[in-house]
């Protein structure tokens, strides 16, 4: 027992109700280093934001871009492009990236499963079916319209997956939840296919939503996301400490005074709000929710009070980065962000499953 405790230990002593799992420390330790690191990551994000706004199939000089953002000239074509295409796209990338990153971290925390990804649990299939139903039956054709339908579908599906996967002995083990999600996804996907086979017009609309992209969405979509994401973000903040306690197992958490049931409900709601809305707006984007929390944990350790903010910053970094790559690789067209994240995320996922740390699963 040293006389001067390290900043980390001081922090833990203060938070008596939610001890931090100390098994795996991150690269950065201590409140100050983690905070500084976060600011650095934020700086990277700002830079990336600027790149995203400045880069596009049509070369627009940087000065013009700057003007377009802060002092838009209604008559200029270039300014119009920046205002109506690139800024909304970038904003959406920021929002969706943060939403997916944080929801992934929360989901992994609540299921105690490092392989949890909102997509793997059926949110995407649920949102898809709802969107298709909306297009087919009610003629919904705006992305904003998709948001509401998609969200409803995602919410119902998540509930079903968690319910089914958690029944019985052992609770939500990784394989049970993953397979429950996969079963439900396959069923919903079959229903989706059924509608699409019969209704070609719907197929023509749907296929551009389902690939997962930031393109084509206007500012209205971003605005319509905000309420979901704002509430979701607040709930996520409220979840952070309870999730730390839950990491030690439900019995231990209960003995520490945590209300496990309430935490779980809170977490599920957070995931649904964040991931559901994000998927509804931009279509299913794989692997962001899965890989970002891992990277965050690798950097700052398993304390969710740090993992969540880091995920909120790293998520958009990945998403905007993928988007820029997608635009760069396929000029003058683009490779949709959904497929770029899949191609980047898959090797990471495989490495994760193969790694020693998963031996106990």
């Amino acid at each position: 027992m040293t006389a001067v405790a390290a900043p980390e230990q001081r922090g833990t002593a203060r938070s008596r109700r939610a001890p931090t799992p100390s098994s795996r420390r991150g690269v950065l330790r201590g409140g100050w280093t983690r905070g500084a690191g976060l600011l650095a990551a934020l700086a990277v994000l700002v830079l990336l934001t600027f790149v995203s706004v400045a880069y596009g199939p049509r070369s627009i000089p940087l000065g013009s871009v700057w003007d377009a953002v802060w002092h838009p000239d209604p008559g200029s074509d270039a300014h119009a492009i920046v205002q109506t295409v690139r800024v909304p796209r970038t904003a959406l990338g920021l929002l969706v990236g943060a939403a997916l990153g944080v929801s992934g971290a929360v989901l992994q925390g609540i299921t105690r499963n490092p392989l949890a990804d909102p997509g793997v649990f059926g949110i995407q299939a649920g949102a898809s079916l709802a969107v298709v139903a909306g297009i087919s039956t009610l003629g919904i054709s705006t992305f904003t319209g998709y948001v509401w339908f998609g969200f409803a579908g995602a919410a119902i599906t998540t509930g079903a997956v968690l319910l089914i996967g958690s029944l019985g002995r052992g609770g939500g083990t990784p394989v049970k939840l993953a397979l429950a999600g996969a079963v439900l996804s396959t069923m919903l996907s079959a229903l989706t296919t059924a509608i699409l086979v019969l209704d070609v017009a719907t197929l023509d609309q749907f296929r551009f939503w389902v690939v997962g992209a930031l393109a084509g969405r206007d500012a209205e979509v971003a605005w319509s996301l905000l309420p979901f994401l704002a509430v979701g973000a607040l709930l996520a903040v409220a979840c952070a400490r309870p999730l730390n306690a839950l990491a030690l197992g439900e019995d231990v958490a209960t003995s520490l005074g945590q209300k496990v049931g309430r935490t779980r409900a809170l977490a599920v709601l957070t995931v649904v709000l964040l991931a559901g809305a994000a998927t509804a707006a931009c279509g299913p984007i794989a692997f962001v929710g899965l890989t970002i929390p891992h990277i965050a944990r690798g950097i700052c350790g398993p304390d969710n009070r740090w993992v969540l903010p880091w995920s909120a910053v790293l998520g958009p970094v990945l998403l905007l980065g993928a988007d820029v790559i997608g635009r760069a690789v396929a000029r003058p067209g683009e490779l949709q962000v959904g497929i770029v994240t899949a191609l980047i995320g898959a090797p990471f996922f495989v490495a994760l499953v193969r790694s020693r740390k998963l031996a106990e699963l």
Binding site: V120, R169, V175, L179, V183, M187, S189, A194, V197
Partner: protein
Amino acid sequence: MAATTMPAAARRISLHRRHGLVVLRGRRPAWSISVHPRALVVSLVLLVATFLLLAWALTVGGFPLPFGDVVSTLVGRGSEDAAFIVERLRLPRGLTGVLVGAGFGVSGAIFQRVAGNPLASPDLIGISSGAAAAAVFTVVVLGAEGPSVTVGALAGSLLTAATIYLLAHRGGVTGYRFVLIGIGAAAVLTSVTHYLLTNAEIWEAHRALGWLAGSLNGRDWDHVRPIALATAVLVPAALLLSRQLRTLELGDDTARGLGVRVEPARAGLLLVAVTLAAVGTASAGPIGFVALVSPQIAHRLVGGRTVGLLPSAACGALLVVGADLLGRRLFAPTEIPVGIVTAVLGAPFLLVLMARANRVGSGG
């Protein structure tokens, strides 16, 4: 069962009953086979039901044929029209269904026992996604139709399976790692499929979607032959390996202690299961839940014991033939693809099974 006039001890087949099993034993050379009577009975009953449904399927359709006509056509004495309908359309379609269903049933049973989880299935772990991505690729990018799509799908699923196996191999493959990497692979391949669909003409995308839905429509003898060959080779192979499977189920250490070469046995079993699933998917598209549901239904019909391969095969065959018949007739003349029927009917059934299994505690 030949009782000869040789001395009693020399050549005789004897029948024994022990702990619910029937054992047949013979001498010179010493051989014995143990059979679970209920599993055998269930398999036979399901097979008979399958062929009855198949017979019925030959008579119904856009041009209904009385059963007598069907029989005379099969014998070679029917009218030309009837011959065309029965022999060129309905019979190959039905036989494809039977073989695909049986193959999926066996494949699903092997996967579930190797993974030790009643919810493991070839279509959930990326093999159908691999077939789908490859099929859509051949339709959209290569502009192909018919047999080329089948070949493409087969190549896609085998390549996916090999990749998953290699990625899961780390001094050996645990069923667990295989399943998890498979789920990840499925996600990637689905993204690829969606991407290909966005880059296609709408009519190409629609045609690709038709394959993706899983259908027996238009399956003729060109489809039946390869899958008949595959089934004839792989199902007996699976039965031969079932002894190893029984012991593998006890865990790697125990199995090794009992003299099983764990890695080769598991690799062999997975190879058989994957190839059966790949050929089935190539022939009929990804037929959702057959591989998942048939072993579970068979398990509940047979009761006790672990999932048998033969009952699963019989159950799978019955499901596919039944689903195809339903899809053809329910909203006639519109055909609902068999893949959709199996998924829409199979999934709620399966979810109920899961909920009950999880409650009982055998879910994983």
